[in-house]
């Protein structure tokens, strides 16, 4: 009885939907196995997770066909609570799933519900807290914890139950690169210590494969299209075909004309074998690849001098920040949570008042402008589009800012129509906002800012939680705006985004700017990487393996090649 979980010709249709979400699912998980499930948004991977942890069919109703068994028992004959005894789920948003007032209570939650009494309750909570290394924070409230610590707590919260299968639903979504890397290491370590089976659902394949997995399942349109080892799967072009980003080192190898085969062990940058032949290919490509052109020198649009701000008057959230932004630039601001990235943009927009320092916009002193007047020049788009949308119809939502500025109806019409066209929302102009996908809603919020015709637009995590296809869609859209002369500032954790789209990056740490340089220079500087909680790009490792001495230049050429050759 080694099989833990088995899908046989399994299908599922939500009651609220006309077509099934899952078809012909056949796969099984053995005890102690570690499996990565990848696939684009809407491929059915979340539904699959719900089927395994029992939310389907017990919370989300629908029709099941075929069979899904846990230890040989049909799950639909069990109850949600019986399933929870064996299957623990760490949800995507570790912030929202924190139900206790303190760390200890959150870990204790499942035990409390199971009527575990004292002294066992306290003992087991302490035991688990030590296992996930959070025992020094037992009395802390969720707001006092970092993203990584919150994830340790949610892990502890499911591990108290002696589960045999752990599911992680997009564990990397809200973490900065360094914390994400630690999370993957923690999962690996716990799996080895406890012997549980692990399912990781994630579209950031390269980051998950930082630690080895036994199998990789690729889903698309409700079906499983591949179920094999990472080495096998990464030797095919399936990932890219299905809209999942393939690891960067693999892209580079393919550009260099290398045929990737399973025996090269392409599953991870640590294992991939670069022989003499391959190294020569990569060197040849490197020499021929175009070197990055220096960006055209334009006028300064935003000049920030010695800006400081503190929320509580004690700790400076931003400390002596000086930045010079050129018109038409595409700029990334990176750094760990709490480093001051968001605070910086809030002070720029006038949401918070600086304690000292100056801001000049097109050489005019910005400090006397109100929030509203600043918004005419610098637009701010929040991370979650639901935080901004307040109208039912798309047209009204986009028109909102103009209406409150007392613009005439006629002008509102033409300006909104123009903006909708630029933003690719023209076909939807008569739709209600609720009918749109997440990515489209994001566009609506960007459109509702663009309509005010700001010269600079700041976006907080523009692509958070988006799969590769939507990510590309949003970023290409921002690039077109940028080509129309809009200066784009992006606050992001996503290193791919900064590599692929930003001309320059500013790294924040502890409220200070620790580096202001082009992205290749930042992502190959190990000191900055550590302090800004970033992660070294695998390209750097690849070029070491291929014997190329100048890693920064290699990364620069890779970026230029992608922009000029691949994306055209």
């Amino acid at each position: 009885m080694d099989t833990l979980l088995k899908f046989e010709n399994f299908g599922f249709k939500y009651d609220a939907q006309s077509a099934p979400t899952l078809f012909d699912i056949n796969f099984s998980i053995k005890k102690g196995e570690k499996v990565l499930i990848a696939g684009p948004s809407g491929c059915g991977k979340s539904t699959l997770v719900h089927c395994i942890n029992g939310l389907v069919p017990f919370s989300y109703k629908g029709k099941i066909t075929g069979s899904l068994s846990l230890f040989g028992k049909e799950t639909r004959d069990l109850s949600l609570f019986e399933i929870s005894k064996h299957v623990g789920t760490v949800l995507q948003d570790s912030d929202a799933q924190f139900v206790g007032l303190t760390v200890a209570e959150d870990i204790a939650f499942a035990l409390e519900n199971d009527c575990v009494g004292e002294p066992e309750l306290h003992d087991r909570v302490m035991q688990v807290a030590k296992l996930v290394n959070i025992h020094d924070f037992m009395g802390h409230a969720p707001t006092e914890l970092s993203g990584g610590q919150k994830q340790r707590v949610s892990l502890g919260g499911v591990l108290v139950d002696d589960v045999e299968l752990l599911i992680f639903d997009e564990p990397l979504a809200n973490l900065d690169p360094a914390t994400g890397k630690q999370a993957i290491e923690l999962i690996d370590e716990l799996q080895k210590k406890t012997g549980v089976a692990v399912i990781i659902v994630e579209h950031r394949v390269e980051d998950v494969l930082h630690r080895s997995v036994d199998r990789m399942v690729l889903m698309d349109k409700g079906r499983i299209v591949a179920d094999t080892t990472p080495d096998e799967l990464l030797s095919t072009d399936l990932l890219a075909e299905k809209g999942v980003r393939e690891p960067l080192y693999l892209s580079a190898m393919k550009y260099a004309g290398i045929t990737v085969t399973p025996d090269m062990k392409p599953g991870s940058i640590d294992t991939v074998r670069i022989g003499e032949d391959e190294a020569r290919h990569i060197q040849d490509w490197y020499e021929k690849a175009p070197s990055d052109k220096a960006p055209a020198d334009t006028d300064t649009i935003l000049d920030v001098k010695h800006l400081s701000f503190s929320y509580d008057g004690k700790r400076k959230a931003i400390d002596d920040i000086s930045v010079n932004v050129k018109a038409g630039e595409m700029l990334a601001i990176v750094g760990t949570n709490g480093a001051g990235k968001s605070t910086f943009s809030k002070v720029l927009c006038g949401f918070e008042k600086e304690n000292s320092g100056e801001i000049f916009f097109e050489e005019k002193d910005f400090s006397q402008y109100s929030i509203k007047e600043r918004a005419d020049r610098i637009g701010y788009v929040m991370q979650n589009p639901n935080q901004m949308i307040s109208k039912v119809m798309i047209f009204d939502e986009v028109a909102l800012g103009l209406k409150s500025r007392g613009v005439s109806d006629e002008e509102i019409n033409t300006r909104v129509e123009n903006t909708l066209k630029i933003c690719g929302l023209w076909p939807f102009r008569k739709w209600p906002v609720s009918a749109l996908s997440y990515g489209q809603k994001k566009r609506v919020t960007i459109a509702s800012i663009m309509v005010l015709e700001p010269k600079v637009i700041i976006l907080d995590e523009p692509t958070a939680g988006q799969d590769y296809r939507h990510y590309t869609e949003i970023m290409e859209f921002l690039t077109t705006l940028n080509k129309r002369g809009i200066t784009v500032i992006m606050i992001t954790h996503d290193m791919h985004l900064m590599l692929e789209y930003a001309d320059r990056a500013i790294a924040f740490s502890d409220g200070k700017i620790i580096k202001d340089a082009d992205c290749a220079a930042i992502l190959t500087d190990s000191d900055i990487i550590e302090r800004a909680s970033l992660k070294e790009t695998s390209l750097y490792e690849l070029c070491k393996k291929a014997g190329i001495p100048d890693g920064t230049d290699f990364v620069r050429r890779f970026i230029a090649y992608e922009r000029e050759v691949v994306r055209q």
């Binding site: 789920t89 206790g100 939650f109 949401f351």
Partner: protein
């Protein structure tokens, strides 16, 4: 963090009582103090309150905001009572003793001043007990003990859960309101009321929508960890009832009995030294 419950963790006999005990005592205590105007009784209650405060090791500095707030309120309240019914004391006590050789509607009378003394004592007897409850009761432990008293655990837990999410919602409200102001939603007092109500919807709708998303995640997270599985649950922060809890509650019951007794003895709610 500014929390509804400004719980201050300390080691004291008051802290050691369970939340439910303190809650029951709070109700009984305040009922007793509200019920009677007997000056002697109120004086004893006020002294007792301050004794309890000392016992709890809560420093005045730590609750200075709440104290200051109520002090202003007490003074204002007294002044208003005097302005609107300067003869209230005379009506109650049935005599009229002018002081300082003055007379007239607003002239001070011994009865009125005595009434104000009682009024003031009432505050002294009640306010400290409320502040004491708020600052010595751990909200999670309070939820646990409510459940022990027979309140259903889903209701009791929702108390704790609400406290858990208040800071999140506050933060979100602040961010949404700033972003909407940037789009030109006028929230300041300059705008007319109707416009401001309309503007509020531009903040409330996104706030409600994002909160609904959160509710779905939270309820999934709770169900996946077996909330609602059994008719009962245990509480990590729960504490057993001890004899001190029983004693504290009995003491408060005694206070109520005395208050009721005084009502008969004084033939009314007021103790009258003027006859």
């Amino acid at each position: 963090m500014n929390n509804l419950f400004n719980y201050i963790e300390k080691e004291s006999p008051v802290h050691r009582l369970t939340g439910a005990t303190k809650f029951v005592c709070l109700l009984l205590w305040n009922f007793a103090a509200m019920y009677t105007y007997d000056t002697r009784y109120l004086l004893v209650m006020a002294i007792l309150s301050f004794f309890l405060f000392a016992l709890s090791k809560i420093k005045l500095k730590e609750v200075s905001f709440m104290l200051g707030f109520t002090a202003v309120f007490v003074v204002l309240n007294n002044i208003l009572v005097y302005i609107f019914s300067p003869q209230h004391g005379t009506e109650i006590y049935g005599t009229c003793t002018y002081l300082f050789g003055l007379s007239g509607k607003y002239a001070p009378t011994a009865e009125q001043l005595f009434y104000h003394l009682n009024y003031f004592l009432k505050y002294l007897a009640t306010i400290p007990s409320v502040i004491l409850f708020v600052s010595t009761t751990n909200p999670s432990e309070f939820a646990a003990s409510l459940n022990k008293l027979g309140v259903s655990y889903s209701v009791a837990y929702s108390v704790a859960l609400a406290l858990r999410y208040i800071p999140d919602v506050q933060k979100e409200y602040y961010e949404i309101s700033k972003a909407q102001q940037a789009r030109g939603i006028e929230m300041s007092k300059k705008a007319p009321l109707i416009k401001r109500i309309k503007s509020a919807s531009a903040i409330l709708i996104p706030l409600i929508l994002t909160s609904m998303d959160r509710v779905e995640i939270v309820s999934n997270a709770m169900e996946l960890r077996c909330f609602g599985k059994n008719k009962k649950r245990t509480w990590y922060m729960g504490r057993p009832f001890k004899w001190t809890d029983i004693a504290a509650m009995l003491f408060c019951v005694l206070l109520v009995i005395i208050a009721v007794f005084l009502n008969f003895y004084n033939k009314g709610r007021f103790f009258n030294p003027f006859i």
